[in-house]
Assembly symmetry: C2
Homo-oligomer: 463 residues x 2
């Protein structure tokens, strides 16, 4: 089995307010209209994330670069934020062994560690720079526009450090950016720094299968061809207009319907798999930034995605999911078979709280907890879906990520928003740029300074 979506617990009688048998025709119709809208837009060439074949040359270039630099690096440090980091983090968790960066070189078969600097906190960059040996490190600087201030600030710090150690920038930097535009492209041309293209029609949160995700992954030995092959299979399986046969359409339509018709606009993504743990924050960006905006009628719309992890969050968020307001759907994400399962030893036979565990496996326990939680939610009238992937390998991961990207595109049409823009983040960017003295933003009204917060500050101090 490759991928399965079980939506029983989104339907009646499994849960109240679920889809009824006679709702399906109108949902199928609504989906067909959304699909037609996506198809019309697709003809304008904006969905570059699907054009995996067009990026084959860039993947070959990455393979050549990895082969050519083989053995040169102990550490790969990604400088990137948001869509330029969440994909690499998800790939690391899924496709490199546990605690990768805590392993010795021998435990990593000589492959490099992978650090992702996705924030500008000075503590973190100082910490990471203190534990990597610069002569054995490559910094992958990722900014589609070439103008991301957080990433450029980090680049300046790193570039200065390299230069102070007398190291050749072209040997210790690689850029991932727009093929033509932006500051990184210009610097790469000037200094002979290796540079890889983010196609102009691939947006940040849809870019994991472009060099944004595949360059760091390939440098650590991940099979990016398998990743993209799995993605292509899923893409081809999710292009149709028939709701009953399009797993991305079914996911999107049922989430949208739960929101629209049952007030369930909080969409929990809950992997029961440590390998897939960081799919949840990656999905949060995809779903939140693509759908949370002003719709065609000028209304503020969009679901709130929530990241969770099973079984861990049974001891954290599940109380709320069970007994709080009935405003959520939960998507369980499970792996069909665990490659290296561990049997629980038959020990402590005298202790009732332990004896019954012996002979089960940890993988079985995790799976039983997943089904028990789904079942408990359904009994409490709370809807859920079960996504199953056959394995947590590169092929399946590519397929899973494509599944969710396709679902997001279709959900954009259902919510009647443009899933590809993010106008709501511009104001904050402008205010920060103004405050930092960027010449293009001099006219911007000033951001309040600490201590000047307008008007009538109400502050309380302790200590």
């Amino acid at each position: 089995m490759a991928f399965t979506l079980d939506v029983t617990s989104m339907t009646e009688p499994a849960v109240p307010a679920g889809v009824r048998d006679d709702d399906w025709p109108s949902l199928a119709e609504r989906f067909r209209a959304a699909h037609a809208a996506v198809t019309a837009v697709a003809a304008t060439g904006v969905y570059g994330y699907r054009e995996l074949e067009a990026q084959a040359a860039e993947r070959a270039k990455i393979a050549a670069f990895v082969a050519e630099t083989d053995g040169q690096y102990d550490d790969v440090v990604v400088l990137g934020i948001g869509g330029s980091s969440l994909g690499a983090i998800a790939l690391r968790s899924a496709l490199l062994p546990t605690a990768w960066n805590a392993r010795t070189a021998a435990e990593r078969d000589g492959r490099p560690r992978l650090h992702v600097l996705d924030n500008v906190d000075p503590r973190t960059i100082t910490g990471v720079l203190s534990i990597v040996a610069l002569p054995r490190t490559i910094f992958v600087v990722i900014s589609k526009s070439g103008g991301t201030i957080e990433t450029l600030a980090q680049y300046l710090v790193v570039r200065d450090r390299l230069s102070r150690e007398g190291l050749d920038a072209a040997q210790h930097l690689a850029f991932v950016t727009d093929p033509v535009k932006g500051a990184l492209r210009a610097i790469a041309a000037r200094d002979g720094i290796p540079v890889f293209d983010v196609p102009p029609n691939v947006g940040g949160r849809f870019s994991v299968l472009s060099p944004v995700g595949t360059l760091p992954a390939a440098l650590c030995g991940i099979d990016i061809d398998a990743l993209c092959t799995g993605a292509a299979v899923m893409r081809d399986a999710t292009m149709g207009s028939d709701l009953a046969h399009n797993a991305a359409g079914l996911f999107a339509t049922l989430q949208w319907r739960a929101h629209e018709q049952a007030g369930q606009g909080q969409h929990v993504m809950m992997p029961y798999s440590d390998a897939l743990r960081d799919i949840a924050p990656w999905f949060v960006q995809l779903w939140a930034e693509s759908l949370g905006k002003v719709d065609a009628d000028g209304l503020h719309v969009g679901p709130t995605p929530i990241a969770s992890v099973g079984a861990t969050d049974q001891h954290s968020q599940v109380q709320l999911f069970m007994e709080g307001p009935a405003d959520k759907t939960v998507t369980f994400l499970r792996v069909d078979a665990s490659a290296d399962d561990v049997e629980i030893p038959r020990l402590e036979a005298g202790e009732k709280a332990l004896a019954f565990l012996g002979g089960h496996t940890l993988g079985e326990l995790l799976d039983i907890e997943c089904r028990a939680t789904a079942s408990a939610l359904a009994r409490a009238g709370r809807p859920s879906m079960m996504m199953t992937v056959g394995a947590s390998d590169a092929w399946h991961l590519g397929g899973l990520m494509m599944w969710l990207m396709q679902a997001t595109t279709l959900a954009g049409a259902l919510y009647r928003v443009n899933p590809l823009d993010q106008p709501g983040v511009e104001l904050g960017k402008r205010l920060a740029n103004k405050e930092l003295g960027h010449p293009d933003y001099a006219g911007e009204a000033e951001a309040p300074r600490a201590g000047q917060v307008p008007p009538t500050p109400r502050r309380l101090r302790v200590g």
Copy 2:
């Protein structure tokens, strides 16, 4: 400065639907009633998390244990889940240097690494066991009840591994559990395993200042006395019934009011500090599990806490916060001064996208982004609060955690729920135990098995 709470952007005219000047008297009255309810319950002795002095003996015992075992361990592995792991993870992120586990022994000044196994995925436990040397490892098994199936399953795997290597369990295990009851207590007594008490009146999500958090922290060299001193100062500052002078009451009351009167029931916790990054998931458990339940009128109530990280999530969730439905509050959490700030070098003067960054510091950039985001949200009419802590050291971290625990207790009274129970997770537990063959749960109705999901399964397969 120690701690500040700025609530300007929860009020009018900063944001519409904010608190108006003439709302304050009734809010103060509502808070006074909630405070009285908490005080009445407190007299029954249930708020053990505040009784820091009563736990001094246990802290001394921890100090003695750490001194006695000094130099014996390279790795501390916590086996715990939910309230038994989130606190230790937050302490690790805040109080140990960045990338602690990726550091060599010398880079750690000989102090041990800290691994937290908070899930039962076999991949993770196998991975961690493959990189620690058992003769140099201590496993801290944490379960208040002594009956947490995930933790007990991990314990059985570890115990068997120790025994197969011929290692003495009493040298490589420590338990944290109820002072009298449960399987772990019995095993400790039988085998002479060091054991530390979770006071019966300290619940899991309120237990970070008990040995649940302090034992793993102290083993890695964190100053737990400073942690608890800061917490005690904050406790004493948040005991009063006057809303204008109780920072925990103010936080709780404004969140509750935003939910109750403005429909803003999604409460985002957004640290702008990598050190405080894992305060967010710790707070999510605290707020979700304490408040998401059935209230005194039988209604399903409770806010949905959402973890976020600034500046990172400006490139992920902030689009939704700005332009999605107006159903959220955002709490910014910032550190007043960064101890080791990094200046951004003045390089690339010819590139407009970079030149203006030179001369600023990374800490300044982070702080400017925090204020710019708060300002942009306010301009979009979205409410927020700004919590500031003076530093990210142990004293302040204890204070911050106490602040949020006190706020949670008070919020329980405002929402009219019992913040100390979690009845909603029992059904899932019972179903899992039944499926695993626990003798006490034989009568439970069976959880559905994969492939038997009732009724009318609706499944879609790809591949």
